[in-house]
Amino acid sequence: MNWLTRVAGALLRCSAGLLPPDRRGWMRALRAEADEVPAGWRRLAWLLGGLRLTVWEATRRRGLGYPLLFAGVAAGTAWSAWSGPPGDSAVAINRSDVVTIAALLAVLPWAIRRVRGPVAGSRPARLLRAGGYAALLALVLVKAAVERVAQAPPNNFEGPVRAWTGEVVFLGMMVGYAALILVCTARRSPAAPGTVAIGATAGAALGIVAYVLGPLGFPLRFTGGWPAGVYDAAMVLGALLALSVPALAGLAATRWVDRSRPAVSRMRQGALAGLWTGAAAALVVAVLSTATIALLPYETGLRQWASSHIGQWTPAVSQWTPIYGPRSYLGYVAGNSAFAAGYLLVLLLGPLFGAALSVWSGWVAGHVGLSGIRPRMLKRVQG
């Protein structure tokens, strides 16, 4: 008991440095009182209460809550992605993936802070930053789970050069997404809070719809009769939605977000809203779909959809079509070529499409007077 009390006392003394200066006196007071408390469990409980207070005050006042949460989640992700036979190149890639991405995600906020300031004070900005980081870590986790499946190309078939090249592209993409999240939720963000809110909400909704309707998403598969007709119609509707949502989000941001801004700035807000819509949709659909594949690597319907919808658009998959055998579809369906590569494309093109569509819609709407920008102002922008 005595040694436990001594350890708790030492911890309390050492952890005082975590507290803001105006709180250290309180902790000194608590420590001074500890001598009055009868020795044994009561004194230990007194000191542990002080430790609890230190952690609470440090996280609340010094903003350590999110970093601690991130460290915990990143450690959990690393632990989960770490498993697998040591000789497997996919496992080596997963390990380097999770370590590099965790390090990048930890360092980037400090780098962005120097340029754009700390996270904005609003709750939505903090939630968006935390949610975005959670989505990125979830993507790493589900990608590792998919790649851990034996015989999944390219990690186990295509050789290390190609696999590592794909990895570098993936890392670049993750840095891009993390930077977008951090910059747009910072205090000196180029995007207005409303712009980010519109883009993120529209994008998340679009991503969920795309996941539900998409060939690799929720297993909504109808093979005949009127349900198949309804589903096909919903697919067409989903495609139209995918095109119109970023455009509408961009238009909404141009028209309603901070009307006091000049025309150029409002057009920029529209483009940023579209960028956010595309990025959020791509991230949501990539995480959910890859998670579905990771959970159902042997699911027959999924294989059929994958081969008929994704296979034809993914060159790497066609290279592996001849691999047949008891686990051939596993390689085909769950492999990096079919999914990580496919969703890498989605992650790359989603934001670009979103921004392009919103700029286009803003431009068209400006000419017909829908964007809320007067034609005279629009001419000035064009000039």
Binding site: L30, A32, E33, D35, E36, G50, R52, E57
Partner: protein
Amino acid sequence: MAHRPEFSAQTLAVLAELCATPSQWRHGYGIARDTGLKSGTLYPVLIRLADRGLVEARWEDEQPAGRPRRHLYRLTAEGLAAAEGALARAPSSARAPATVRGGQNGRRVAARVTP
């Protein structure tokens, strides 16, 4: 929607304890002992009350023999008024902790807060 009480039950217990002898400086362990509150509950309450200017704190002037100097607390004039008002308005259940948790001063607290 239910009206959110001004002070928590624990804060009311501390206020009641300090209110019982408003001119006297009290130390943390004494308050904890009499209210039955743990250090991890008592000190956040004291910190918030001090931040709001309802409690004033100081260190003991002289170094006593055989023990460290204590941090002492008492209600400010504003704190005394706020405490009396809050205790008068508080339902009896909100003032229960001090008594229920077996603080040595529980009976006195209960008596003090009863209008």
